[in-house]
Protein backbone atom coordinates (compact mmCIF):
# COMPACT_ATOMS: atom_id res chain seq x y z
CA UNK A 1 0.00 0.00 0.00
CA UNK A 2 1.17 3.53 -0.76
CA UNK A 3 1.87 6.12 1.83
CA UNK A 4 -1.40 7.91 1.29
CA UNK A 5 -4.03 6.21 -0.78
CA UNK A 6 -6.91 8.58 -1.49
CA UNK A 7 -9.93 7.46 0.53
CA UNK A 8 -12.06 7.24 -2.58
CA UNK A 9 -9.74 4.63 -4.13
CA UNK A 10 -9.75 2.69 -0.89
CA UNK A 11 -13.51 2.85 -0.86
CA UNK A 12 -13.69 1.43 -4.37
CA UNK A 13 -11.37 -1.45 -3.45
CA UNK A 14 -13.49 -2.19 -0.38
CA UNK A 15 -16.72 -2.15 -2.37
CA UNK A 16 -15.17 -4.42 -4.99
CA UNK A 17 -14.23 -6.91 -2.29
CA UNK A 18 -17.71 -6.67 -0.78
CA UNK A 19 -19.14 -7.57 -4.19
CA UNK A 20 -17.02 -10.73 -4.12
CA UNK A 21 -18.95 -11.72 -1.03
CA UNK A 22 -22.36 -10.63 -2.27
CA UNK A 23 -22.34 -11.99 -5.83
CA UNK A 24 -22.47 -15.69 -4.81
CA UNK A 25 -25.54 -14.95 -2.68
CA UNK A 26 -27.10 -12.97 -5.52
CA UNK A 27 -26.34 -15.85 -7.89
CA UNK A 28 -28.38 -18.38 -5.91
CA UNK A 29 -31.09 -15.83 -5.22
CA UNK A 30 -31.70 -14.93 -8.85
CA UNK A 31 -31.40 -18.53 -10.03
CA UNK A 32 -33.93 -19.67 -7.46
CA UNK A 33 -36.58 -18.01 -9.65
CA UNK A 34 -35.52 -19.75 -12.85
CA UNK A 35 -36.83 -22.87 -14.53
CA UNK A 36 -34.98 -26.16 -14.70
CA UNK A 37 -32.95 -25.36 -17.85
CA UNK A 38 -32.13 -21.75 -17.16
CA UNK A 39 -31.12 -22.31 -13.53
CA UNK A 40 -28.61 -24.96 -14.61
CA UNK A 41 -26.69 -22.19 -16.40
CA UNK A 42 -25.94 -20.48 -13.06
CA UNK A 43 -26.04 -17.05 -14.77
CA UNK A 44 -26.47 -13.66 -13.13
CA UNK A 45 -29.13 -12.33 -15.50
CA UNK A 46 -32.76 -11.90 -14.58
CA UNK A 47 -34.99 -14.94 -15.22
CA UNK A 48 -36.71 -14.94 -18.63
CA UNK A 49 -39.80 -16.16 -16.81
CA UNK A 50 -40.11 -15.92 -13.06
CA UNK A 51 -40.73 -19.39 -11.65
CA UNK A 52 -42.23 -18.65 -8.27
CA UNK A 53 -43.40 -22.25 -8.29
CA UNK A 54 -39.90 -23.27 -7.15
CA UNK A 55 -40.75 -21.87 -3.74
CA UNK A 56 -44.15 -23.52 -3.75
CA UNK A 57 -42.42 -26.85 -4.45
CA UNK A 58 -40.04 -26.25 -1.56
CA UNK A 59 -42.82 -25.48 0.87
CA UNK A 60 -44.82 -28.46 -0.37
CA UNK A 61 -42.11 -30.63 1.14
CA UNK A 62 -43.96 -31.52 4.29
CA UNK A 63 -40.75 -32.06 6.24
CA UNK A 64 -39.26 -28.58 5.82
CA UNK A 65 -41.13 -27.10 8.77
CA UNK A 66 -40.16 -30.10 10.82
CA UNK A 67 -36.52 -29.46 9.90
CA UNK A 68 -36.76 -25.88 11.17
CA UNK A 69 -38.51 -27.09 14.28
CA UNK A 70 -35.81 -29.69 14.95
CA UNK A 71 -32.98 -27.19 14.47
CA UNK A 72 -34.75 -24.70 16.71
CA UNK A 73 -35.50 -27.24 19.41
CA UNK A 74 -31.94 -28.59 19.45
CA UNK A 75 -30.36 -25.12 19.53
CA UNK A 76 -32.63 -24.06 22.41
CA UNK A 77 -31.99 -27.17 24.49
CA UNK A 78 -28.23 -27.00 23.95
CA UNK A 79 -28.22 -23.30 24.88
CA UNK A 80 -29.90 -24.12 28.20
CA UNK A 81 -27.64 -27.08 28.99
CA UNK A 82 -24.37 -25.39 28.06
CA UNK A 83 -25.14 -22.13 29.89
CA UNK A 84 -26.33 -23.89 33.02
CA UNK A 85 -23.67 -26.61 33.27
CA UNK A 86 -20.78 -24.40 32.20
CA UNK A 87 -21.61 -21.47 34.49
CA UNK A 88 -22.05 -23.73 37.53
CA UNK A 89 -18.79 -25.52 36.81
CA UNK A 90 -16.87 -22.33 35.99
CA UNK A 91 -18.10 -20.76 39.23
CA UNK A 92 -16.58 -23.44 41.46
CA UNK A 93 -13.55 -24.04 39.23
CA UNK A 94 -12.60 -20.38 39.60
CA UNK A 95 -13.66 -19.89 43.23
CA UNK A 96 -12.72 -23.20 44.80
CA UNK A 97 -9.77 -24.29 42.69
CA UNK A 98 -7.71 -27.13 44.12
CA UNK A 99 -6.02 -30.07 42.46
CA UNK A 100 -9.14 -31.86 41.28
CA UNK A 101 -10.88 -28.83 39.76
CA UNK A 102 -7.69 -27.56 38.17
CA UNK A 103 -7.34 -30.94 36.53
CA UNK A 104 -10.93 -30.69 35.33
CA UNK A 105 -10.19 -27.24 33.94
CA UNK A 106 -7.16 -28.58 32.06
CA UNK A 107 -9.32 -31.37 30.61
CA UNK A 108 -11.81 -28.80 29.32
CA UNK A 109 -8.99 -26.77 27.79
CA UNK A 110 -7.76 -29.88 26.01
CA UNK A 111 -11.30 -30.34 24.75
CA UNK A 112 -10.98 -26.99 23.00
CA UNK A 113 -8.33 -28.43 20.73
CA UNK A 114 -8.84 -32.12 20.14
CA UNK A 115 -11.39 -33.38 17.64
CA UNK A 116 -14.38 -35.35 18.86
CA UNK A 117 -14.20 -39.09 18.14
CA UNK A 118 -17.42 -39.33 16.21
CA UNK A 119 -17.47 -42.98 15.13
CA UNK A 120 -17.00 -44.38 18.67
CA UNK A 121 -19.70 -41.91 19.77
CA UNK A 122 -22.16 -43.82 17.57
CA UNK A 123 -21.17 -47.01 19.38
CA UNK A 124 -21.49 -45.39 22.79
CA UNK A 125 -25.00 -44.09 22.07
CA UNK A 126 -25.91 -47.54 20.84
CA UNK A 127 -24.70 -49.18 24.06
CA UNK A 128 -26.56 -46.57 26.13
CA UNK A 129 -29.72 -47.26 24.07
CA UNK A 130 -30.21 -43.57 23.30
CA UNK A 131 -28.97 -43.60 19.69
CA UNK A 132 -31.01 -41.32 17.44
CA UNK A 133 -32.87 -39.60 20.30
CA UNK A 134 -33.01 -35.84 20.84
CA UNK A 135 -31.41 -36.46 24.22
CA UNK A 136 -28.33 -38.05 22.64
CA UNK A 137 -27.76 -35.25 20.17
CA UNK A 138 -28.31 -32.57 22.83
CA UNK A 139 -25.77 -34.30 25.09
CA UNK A 140 -23.32 -34.64 22.20
CA UNK A 141 -23.48 -30.91 21.41
CA UNK A 142 -23.33 -29.98 25.09
CA UNK A 143 -20.17 -32.05 25.52
CA UNK A 144 -18.58 -30.52 22.42
CA UNK A 145 -19.42 -26.92 23.36
CA UNK A 146 -18.77 -27.09 27.11
CA UNK A 147 -14.97 -26.59 26.85
CA UNK A 148 -15.30 -23.26 25.10
CA UNK A 149 -18.05 -22.07 27.46
CA UNK A 150 -16.20 -23.13 30.63
CA UNK A 151 -13.01 -21.45 29.42
CA UNK A 152 -14.79 -18.21 28.59
CA UNK A 153 -16.77 -18.15 31.85
CA UNK A 154 -13.85 -18.94 34.15
CA UNK A 155 -12.07 -15.95 32.63
CA UNK A 156 -15.00 -13.67 33.37
CA UNK A 157 -15.83 -14.92 36.84
CA UNK A 158 -12.24 -14.06 37.75
CA UNK A 159 -13.21 -10.42 37.30
CA UNK A 160 -16.13 -10.70 39.73
CA UNK A 161 -14.69 -9.64 43.10
CA UNK A 162 -14.61 -12.29 45.83
CA UNK A 163 -15.69 -9.68 48.37
CA UNK A 164 -19.18 -9.93 46.92
CA UNK A 165 -19.27 -13.63 47.81
CA UNK A 166 -17.98 -12.98 51.28
CA UNK A 167 -20.52 -10.27 52.00
CA UNK A 168 -23.34 -12.46 50.72
CA UNK A 169 -22.25 -15.49 52.73
CA UNK A 170 -21.89 -13.36 55.89
CA UNK A 171 -25.45 -12.21 55.36
CA UNK A 172 -26.46 -15.83 55.51
CA UNK A 173 -26.87 -16.43 51.79
CA UNK A 174 -26.37 -20.04 50.62
CA UNK A 175 -24.00 -20.96 47.81
CA UNK A 176 -26.78 -21.79 45.41
CA UNK A 177 -28.43 -18.41 45.96
CA UNK A 178 -25.04 -16.73 45.67
CA UNK A 179 -24.60 -18.36 42.26
CA UNK A 180 -28.14 -17.65 41.12
CA UNK A 181 -28.71 -14.13 42.46
CA UNK A 182 -25.24 -12.58 42.39
CA UNK A 183 -22.89 -14.38 40.02
CA UNK A 184 -25.30 -15.15 37.17
CA UNK A 185 -26.62 -11.58 36.77
CA UNK A 186 -23.05 -10.26 36.75
CA UNK A 187 -21.98 -12.58 33.94
CA UNK A 188 -25.19 -12.29 31.91
CA UNK A 189 -23.46 -10.52 29.00
CA UNK A 190 -21.05 -13.44 28.69
CA UNK A 191 -23.96 -15.84 28.74
CA UNK A 192 -25.36 -13.97 25.73
CA UNK A 193 -22.02 -14.54 23.98
CA UNK A 194 -22.08 -18.23 24.87
CA UNK A 195 -25.65 -18.50 23.59
CA UNK A 196 -24.80 -16.88 20.27
CA UNK A 197 -21.86 -19.19 19.67
CA UNK A 198 -23.96 -22.21 20.63
CA UNK A 199 -26.87 -21.24 18.38
CA UNK A 200 -24.69 -20.52 15.35
CA UNK A 201 -22.70 -23.75 15.87
CA UNK A 202 -25.70 -26.01 16.35
CA UNK A 203 -27.91 -24.42 13.71
CA UNK A 204 -25.24 -24.63 10.99
CA UNK A 205 -23.72 -27.95 11.92
CA UNK A 206 -23.85 -30.87 9.54
CA UNK A 207 -21.18 -33.13 11.02
CA UNK A 208 -23.01 -34.16 14.22
CA UNK A 209 -26.47 -34.99 12.88
CA UNK A 210 -24.99 -36.62 9.77
CA UNK A 211 -23.40 -39.31 11.93
CA UNK A 212 -25.78 -39.42 14.86
CA UNK A 213 -29.30 -38.90 13.49
CA UNK A 214 -30.65 -41.63 11.24
CA UNK A 215 -34.38 -41.05 11.65
CA UNK A 216 -35.46 -38.57 8.96
CA UNK A 217 -38.18 -37.07 11.20
CA UNK A 218 -35.37 -35.79 13.45
CA UNK A 219 -33.27 -34.26 10.68
CA UNK A 220 -32.13 -30.69 11.20
CA UNK A 221 -32.61 -28.16 8.44
CA UNK A 222 -28.97 -28.42 7.30
CA UNK A 223 -29.23 -32.20 7.05
CA UNK A 224 -32.35 -31.68 4.96
CA UNK A 225 -30.41 -29.45 2.57
CA UNK A 226 -27.96 -32.31 2.09
CA UNK A 227 -30.68 -34.84 1.34
CA UNK A 228 -32.66 -32.40 -0.77
CA UNK A 229 -29.66 -31.75 -3.02
CA UNK A 230 -29.03 -35.47 -3.41
CA UNK A 231 -32.68 -35.85 -4.42
CA UNK A 232 -33.23 -32.79 -6.62
CA UNK A 233 -29.77 -32.01 -8.01
CA UNK A 234 -31.28 -32.18 -11.49
CA UNK A 235 -33.33 -29.05 -10.80
CA UNK A 236 -31.07 -26.32 -9.50
CA UNK A 237 -33.88 -23.76 -9.43
CA UNK A 238 -35.63 -25.71 -6.69
CA UNK A 239 -32.37 -26.50 -4.88
CA UNK A 240 -31.44 -22.80 -4.81
CA UNK A 241 -34.95 -21.90 -3.63
CA UNK A 242 -34.53 -24.38 -0.80
CA UNK A 243 -31.18 -22.86 0.15
CA UNK A 244 -32.65 -19.35 0.12
CA UNK A 245 -35.42 -20.55 2.42
CA UNK A 246 -32.83 -22.05 4.75
CA UNK A 247 -30.43 -19.11 4.92
CA UNK A 248 -32.96 -16.26 4.93
CA UNK A 249 -34.00 -16.59 8.60
CA UNK A 250 -30.32 -16.68 9.58
CA UNK A 251 -29.55 -13.60 7.49
CA UNK A 252 -32.54 -11.67 8.84
CA UNK A 253 -31.52 -12.37 12.41
CA UNK A 254 -27.94 -11.49 11.52
CA UNK A 255 -29.09 -8.20 10.00
CA UNK A 256 -30.93 -7.16 13.15
CA UNK A 257 -28.51 -8.47 15.73
CA UNK A 258 -25.27 -8.04 13.78
CA UNK A 259 -23.53 -6.05 16.48
CA UNK A 260 -24.20 -8.73 19.12
CA UNK A 261 -23.47 -11.60 16.77
CA UNK A 262 -20.17 -10.24 15.45
CA UNK A 263 -19.00 -9.22 18.91
CA UNK A 264 -20.25 -12.45 20.43
CA UNK A 265 -18.65 -14.77 17.92
CA UNK A 266 -15.33 -12.97 17.95
CA UNK A 267 -15.22 -12.25 21.69
CA UNK A 268 -16.04 -15.89 22.21
CA UNK A 269 -13.05 -16.89 20.19
CA UNK A 270 -10.66 -14.27 21.48
CA UNK A 271 -11.14 -15.94 24.81
CA UNK A 272 -11.42 -19.44 23.44
Amino acid sequence: MRKKLPPIALEIVAIGLALLILIPFFMIFINSFKGIRESALFGLSLPSTWEFSNYRDVFNQDNILRGFKNSFLLSALVVVCVNLFASMAAFVIQRRGGKFLNGVYMAFIMGLIVPVSIIPTIRLLDVLHIKGTYLSIVMYYTAVLLPFAVFLLVGFIKSVPRELDEAAILEGCGYFRLYLKIILPLISTVLVTVSIVVIVSVWNDFFGPFYLVTDSTKWTIVLQVFNFVTLYSTNWGIVFAFMIVVITPVLIIYLFLQRYIIDGLTAGSVKG
Binding site: K3, L41, F42, F91, P115, V222, T266
Partner: protein, 289 residues
Protein backbone atom coordinates in the same frame (compact mmCIF):
# COMPACT_ATOMS: atom_id res chain seq x y z
CA UNK B 1 -13.56 -17.22 53.48
CA UNK B 2 -12.59 -20.81 52.94
CA UNK B 3 -12.33 -21.94 49.36
CA UNK B 4 -13.34 -25.47 50.27
CA UNK B 5 -16.81 -24.32 51.27
CA UNK B 6 -17.75 -23.76 47.63
CA UNK B 7 -19.78 -26.87 46.77
CA UNK B 8 -17.86 -29.26 44.55
CA UNK B 9 -21.05 -30.81 43.18
CA UNK B 10 -21.71 -27.65 41.17
CA UNK B 11 -19.17 -28.95 38.72
CA UNK B 12 -20.70 -32.43 38.45
CA UNK B 13 -23.23 -31.91 35.61
CA UNK B 14 -20.54 -30.47 33.33
CA UNK B 15 -18.02 -33.13 34.33
CA UNK B 16 -20.46 -35.99 33.83
CA UNK B 17 -21.61 -34.84 30.37
CA UNK B 18 -18.07 -34.11 29.24
CA UNK B 19 -16.73 -37.36 30.63
CA UNK B 20 -19.49 -39.47 29.15
CA UNK B 21 -19.95 -37.86 25.74
CA UNK B 22 -16.49 -36.51 24.93
CA UNK B 23 -13.83 -38.42 26.83
CA UNK B 24 -15.51 -41.85 26.80
CA UNK B 25 -15.83 -42.00 22.98
CA UNK B 26 -12.15 -41.13 22.69
CA UNK B 27 -11.12 -43.79 25.20
CA UNK B 28 -13.31 -46.58 23.82
CA UNK B 29 -12.19 -45.42 20.38
CA UNK B 30 -8.71 -46.68 21.18
CA UNK B 31 -10.21 -50.13 21.75
CA UNK B 32 -12.48 -50.09 18.70
CA UNK B 33 -9.60 -49.07 16.48
CA UNK B 34 -8.13 -52.49 17.33
CA UNK B 35 -11.28 -54.33 16.21
CA UNK B 36 -12.90 -55.45 12.98
CA UNK B 37 -16.14 -53.61 13.89
CA UNK B 38 -18.17 -53.57 10.69
CA UNK B 39 -21.74 -52.51 10.09
CA UNK B 40 -22.36 -55.72 8.10
CA UNK B 41 -21.04 -58.12 10.74
CA UNK B 42 -22.91 -59.10 13.89
CA UNK B 43 -19.84 -59.52 16.08
CA UNK B 44 -16.92 -57.29 16.90
CA UNK B 45 -13.57 -59.05 17.12
CA UNK B 46 -10.27 -57.81 18.51
CA UNK B 47 -7.69 -57.86 15.72
CA UNK B 48 -4.77 -56.03 17.30
CA UNK B 49 -2.85 -53.65 15.10
CA UNK B 50 -4.36 -54.93 11.82
CA UNK B 51 -6.25 -51.70 11.05
CA UNK B 52 -3.19 -49.56 11.62
CA UNK B 53 -0.96 -51.90 9.61
CA UNK B 54 -3.37 -51.72 6.71
CA UNK B 55 -3.72 -47.95 7.07
CA UNK B 56 -0.02 -47.27 6.95
CA UNK B 57 0.22 -49.26 3.75
CA UNK B 58 -2.47 -47.12 2.13
CA UNK B 59 -1.21 -44.27 -0.03
CA UNK B 60 -4.62 -42.73 0.64
CA UNK B 61 -3.71 -42.09 4.27
CA UNK B 62 -0.57 -40.26 3.22
CA UNK B 63 -2.68 -38.19 0.82
CA UNK B 64 -5.19 -37.32 3.54
CA UNK B 65 -2.37 -36.46 5.92
CA UNK B 66 -0.50 -34.21 3.46
CA UNK B 67 -3.67 -32.56 2.19
CA UNK B 68 -4.89 -31.81 5.70
CA UNK B 69 -1.56 -30.20 6.55
CA UNK B 70 -1.36 -28.25 3.29
CA UNK B 71 -4.92 -27.07 3.76
CA UNK B 72 -4.28 -26.05 7.38
CA UNK B 73 -1.05 -24.23 6.57
CA UNK B 74 -2.45 -22.40 3.54
CA UNK B 75 -5.66 -21.40 5.28
CA UNK B 76 -3.77 -20.19 8.35
CA UNK B 77 -1.48 -17.97 6.28
CA UNK B 78 -4.06 -16.66 3.81
CA UNK B 79 -6.78 -16.13 6.39
CA UNK B 80 -4.46 -13.95 8.44
CA UNK B 81 -3.10 -12.01 5.49
CA UNK B 82 -6.57 -11.28 4.15
CA UNK B 83 -7.89 -10.60 7.64
CA UNK B 84 -5.21 -8.01 8.36
CA UNK B 85 -5.61 -6.42 4.92
CA UNK B 86 -9.38 -6.09 5.31
CA UNK B 87 -9.01 -4.77 8.85
CA UNK B 88 -6.52 -2.11 7.73
CA UNK B 89 -8.87 -1.01 4.94
CA UNK B 90 -11.89 -0.84 7.22
CA UNK B 91 -9.91 0.93 9.91
CA UNK B 92 -9.78 3.99 7.66
CA UNK B 93 -12.64 6.44 7.76
CA UNK B 94 -14.84 4.90 5.10
CA UNK B 95 -18.42 6.03 4.71
CA UNK B 96 -19.75 2.49 4.32
CA UNK B 97 -17.59 1.10 7.10
CA UNK B 98 -20.32 -0.58 9.15
CA UNK B 99 -22.11 -1.96 6.13
CA UNK B 100 -18.85 -3.38 4.76
CA UNK B 101 -17.99 -4.94 8.09
CA UNK B 102 -21.36 -6.63 8.12
CA UNK B 103 -20.96 -7.92 4.56
CA UNK B 104 -17.47 -9.33 5.09
CA UNK B 105 -18.53 -11.19 8.19
CA UNK B 106 -21.73 -12.55 6.65
CA UNK B 107 -20.39 -15.86 5.21
CA UNK B 108 -19.31 -16.85 8.71
CA UNK B 109 -22.91 -17.21 9.92
CA UNK B 110 -23.97 -19.42 6.98
CA UNK B 111 -23.72 -23.21 7.20
CA UNK B 112 -20.49 -24.38 5.48
CA UNK B 113 -22.52 -27.09 3.77
CA UNK B 114 -24.67 -24.48 2.02
CA UNK B 115 -21.59 -22.46 1.06
CA UNK B 116 -20.15 -25.61 -0.48
CA UNK B 117 -23.21 -26.05 -2.69
CA UNK B 118 -23.20 -22.40 -3.75
CA UNK B 119 -19.58 -22.66 -4.84
CA UNK B 120 -20.09 -25.94 -6.63
CA UNK B 121 -22.28 -23.95 -9.01
CA UNK B 122 -19.83 -21.06 -9.15
CA UNK B 123 -16.91 -23.31 -10.18
CA UNK B 124 -18.89 -25.16 -12.84
CA UNK B 125 -16.46 -25.51 -15.80
CA UNK B 126 -18.91 -24.35 -18.49
CA UNK B 127 -21.52 -22.23 -16.77
CA UNK B 128 -19.94 -21.19 -13.48
CA UNK B 129 -19.46 -17.46 -13.03
CA UNK B 130 -15.73 -17.77 -12.32
CA UNK B 131 -14.96 -19.09 -15.79
CA UNK B 132 -17.56 -16.85 -17.41
CA UNK B 133 -15.94 -13.84 -15.79
CA UNK B 134 -12.45 -14.88 -16.92
CA UNK B 135 -13.78 -15.37 -20.44
CA UNK B 136 -15.50 -11.99 -20.42
CA UNK B 137 -12.39 -10.02 -19.41
CA UNK B 138 -10.22 -11.83 -21.96
CA UNK B 139 -8.43 -14.12 -19.54
CA UNK B 140 -9.96 -17.19 -21.12
CA UNK B 141 -6.59 -19.01 -21.01
CA UNK B 142 -6.98 -19.05 -17.24
CA UNK B 143 -10.28 -20.90 -17.33
CA UNK B 144 -10.05 -24.22 -15.52
CA UNK B 145 -12.15 -27.11 -14.41
CA UNK B 146 -11.55 -25.86 -10.89
CA UNK B 147 -12.85 -28.82 -8.94
CA UNK B 148 -12.02 -31.70 -11.26
CA UNK B 149 -8.49 -30.80 -12.21
CA UNK B 150 -6.11 -32.41 -9.68
CA UNK B 151 -3.77 -29.44 -10.08
CA UNK B 152 -6.36 -26.93 -8.89
CA UNK B 153 -8.92 -28.76 -6.75
CA UNK B 154 -7.21 -28.34 -3.36
CA UNK B 155 -6.30 -24.75 -4.15
CA UNK B 156 -9.92 -24.02 -5.07
CA UNK B 157 -11.15 -25.45 -1.77
CA UNK B 158 -8.62 -23.34 0.13
CA UNK B 159 -9.78 -20.16 -1.61
CA UNK B 160 -13.41 -21.03 -0.88
CA UNK B 161 -12.66 -21.45 2.80
CA UNK B 162 -10.80 -18.12 2.84
CA UNK B 163 -13.91 -16.52 1.33
CA UNK B 164 -15.83 -17.93 4.28
CA UNK B 165 -13.51 -16.99 7.16
CA UNK B 166 -11.59 -13.86 6.09
CA UNK B 167 -14.28 -11.61 7.59
CA UNK B 168 -13.97 -13.36 10.92
CA UNK B 169 -10.23 -12.69 11.13
CA UNK B 170 -10.89 -9.15 9.99
CA UNK B 171 -13.14 -8.48 12.98
CA UNK B 172 -10.62 -9.89 15.44
CA UNK B 173 -7.90 -7.68 13.93
CA UNK B 174 -10.20 -4.65 13.83
CA UNK B 175 -10.75 -5.09 17.56
CA UNK B 176 -6.97 -5.22 18.00
CA UNK B 177 -6.50 -2.05 15.97
CA UNK B 178 -8.87 -0.16 18.27
CA UNK B 179 -6.33 -0.53 21.07
CA UNK B 180 -3.54 1.17 19.16
CA UNK B 181 -3.34 4.80 20.25
CA UNK B 182 -3.73 7.19 17.32
CA UNK B 183 -0.96 9.51 18.49
CA UNK B 184 1.51 6.64 18.43
CA UNK B 185 0.96 6.26 14.69
CA UNK B 186 0.93 10.01 14.19
CA UNK B 187 4.24 10.48 15.94
CA UNK B 188 5.70 7.68 13.84
CA UNK B 189 4.60 9.39 10.63
CA UNK B 190 5.96 12.74 11.85
CA UNK B 191 9.27 10.92 12.33
CA UNK B 192 9.05 10.17 8.62
CA UNK B 193 8.00 6.53 8.71
CA UNK B 194 6.05 5.51 5.63
CA UNK B 195 2.99 3.26 5.70
CA UNK B 196 4.89 -0.01 5.45
CA UNK B 197 7.49 0.92 8.10
CA UNK B 198 4.73 2.14 10.38
CA UNK B 199 2.87 -1.12 9.90
CA UNK B 200 5.95 -3.26 10.48
CA UNK B 201 7.33 -1.48 13.52
CA UNK B 202 4.33 0.09 15.21
CA UNK B 203 1.04 -1.50 14.17
CA UNK B 204 1.90 -5.17 13.74
CA UNK B 205 3.72 -5.67 17.06
CA UNK B 206 0.69 -4.20 18.83
CA UNK B 207 -1.55 -6.60 16.93
CA UNK B 208 0.34 -9.58 18.37
CA UNK B 209 -2.45 -10.78 20.69
CA UNK B 210 -5.00 -10.74 17.86
CA UNK B 211 -2.46 -12.51 15.67
CA UNK B 212 -1.91 -15.33 18.18
CA UNK B 213 -5.64 -15.90 18.54
CA UNK B 214 -6.20 -15.91 14.81
CA UNK B 215 -3.36 -18.31 14.07
CA UNK B 216 -4.44 -20.67 16.82
CA UNK B 217 -8.05 -20.80 15.73
CA UNK B 218 -7.22 -21.09 12.05
CA UNK B 219 -4.75 -23.92 12.58
CA UNK B 220 -6.89 -26.03 14.85
CA UNK B 221 -10.13 -25.32 12.99
CA UNK B 222 -8.76 -26.01 9.53
CA UNK B 223 -7.39 -29.44 10.45
CA UNK B 224 -10.98 -30.37 11.21
CA UNK B 225 -12.31 -29.23 7.83
CA UNK B 226 -15.14 -31.39 6.55
CA UNK B 227 -18.30 -30.02 4.92
CA UNK B 228 -16.67 -27.77 2.34
CA UNK B 229 -14.44 -30.57 1.03
CA UNK B 230 -17.22 -33.13 1.14
CA UNK B 231 -19.56 -30.98 -0.91
CA UNK B 232 -17.03 -29.56 -3.37
CA UNK B 233 -14.99 -32.65 -4.27
CA UNK B 234 -15.75 -35.55 -1.87
CA UNK B 235 -11.99 -35.84 -1.61
CA UNK B 236 -11.48 -36.27 -5.34
CA UNK B 237 -10.45 -36.30 -8.12
CA UNK B 238 -8.73 -39.50 -7.08
CA UNK B 239 -7.68 -38.71 -3.54
CA UNK B 240 -6.09 -35.37 -4.41
CA UNK B 241 -8.26 -33.40 -1.97
CA UNK B 242 -8.88 -36.13 0.59
CA UNK B 243 -8.60 -34.79 4.14
CA UNK B 244 -9.00 -36.71 7.40
CA UNK B 245 -12.67 -36.08 7.85
CA UNK B 246 -13.65 -36.99 4.29
CA UNK B 247 -11.54 -40.14 4.61
CA UNK B 248 -13.40 -41.01 7.81
CA UNK B 249 -16.73 -40.30 6.17
CA UNK B 250 -16.00 -42.44 3.10
CA UNK B 251 -14.81 -45.33 5.25
CA UNK B 252 -17.85 -44.91 7.50
CA UNK B 253 -20.15 -45.02 4.47
CA UNK B 254 -18.74 -48.39 3.44
CA UNK B 255 -19.48 -49.68 6.94
CA UNK B 256 -15.89 -50.25 8.10
CA UNK B 257 -16.36 -48.72 11.52
CA UNK B 258 -13.25 -50.13 13.17
CA UNK B 259 -11.11 -48.88 10.34
CA UNK B 260 -12.81 -45.45 10.41
CA UNK B 261 -12.16 -45.31 14.16
CA UNK B 262 -8.46 -45.96 13.56
CA UNK B 263 -8.35 -42.99 11.14
CA UNK B 264 -10.19 -40.91 13.74
CA UNK B 265 -7.52 -41.83 16.30
CA UNK B 266 -4.76 -40.71 13.93
CA UNK B 267 -6.49 -37.36 13.45
CA UNK B 268 -6.78 -37.09 17.22
CA UNK B 269 -3.04 -37.71 17.54
CA UNK B 270 -2.19 -35.20 14.81
CA UNK B 271 -4.31 -32.39 16.23
CA UNK B 272 -3.00 -33.05 19.74
CA UNK B 273 0.59 -33.03 18.50
CA UNK B 274 0.14 -29.72 16.74
CA UNK B 275 -2.37 -28.18 19.13
CA UNK B 276 -0.82 -28.79 22.54
CA UNK B 277 2.47 -26.95 21.91
CA UNK B 278 0.45 -24.06 20.49
CA UNK B 279 -1.75 -24.14 23.57
CA UNK B 280 1.32 -24.05 25.82
CA UNK B 281 2.51 -20.97 23.97
CA UNK B 282 -0.90 -19.41 24.54
CA UNK B 283 -0.79 -20.21 28.27
CA UNK B 284 2.62 -18.60 28.48
CA UNK B 285 1.25 -15.49 26.86
CA UNK B 286 -1.56 -15.40 29.40
CA UNK B 287 1.02 -15.36 32.19
CA UNK B 288 2.92 -12.55 30.56
CA UNK B 289 -0.24 -10.49 30.29
Amino acid sequence: MERNKYPLYFSFPAIIVFLLFFITPTVIGVYYSFTDWNINASTIKFIGLENYKELFNEPRLKQAFTNTLIFAAAVTVLQNVSGIALALILNEKLRLRNLLRMIFFMPYVIAPLVIGYIFRAIYHPEHGIVNKFLDMVGLDFMMQDWLNDPKFALFTIIITDIWRVAGFSMVVYLAGLQFIPKDLIESASIDGANYWTRFKHVVFPLLAPAFTVNVLLAMIGSMKVFEIVMVLTEGGPGYTTEVFYTYIRNTFSSGEMGYATAINMLLFALVTLVGVPVLMAMKKREVEM
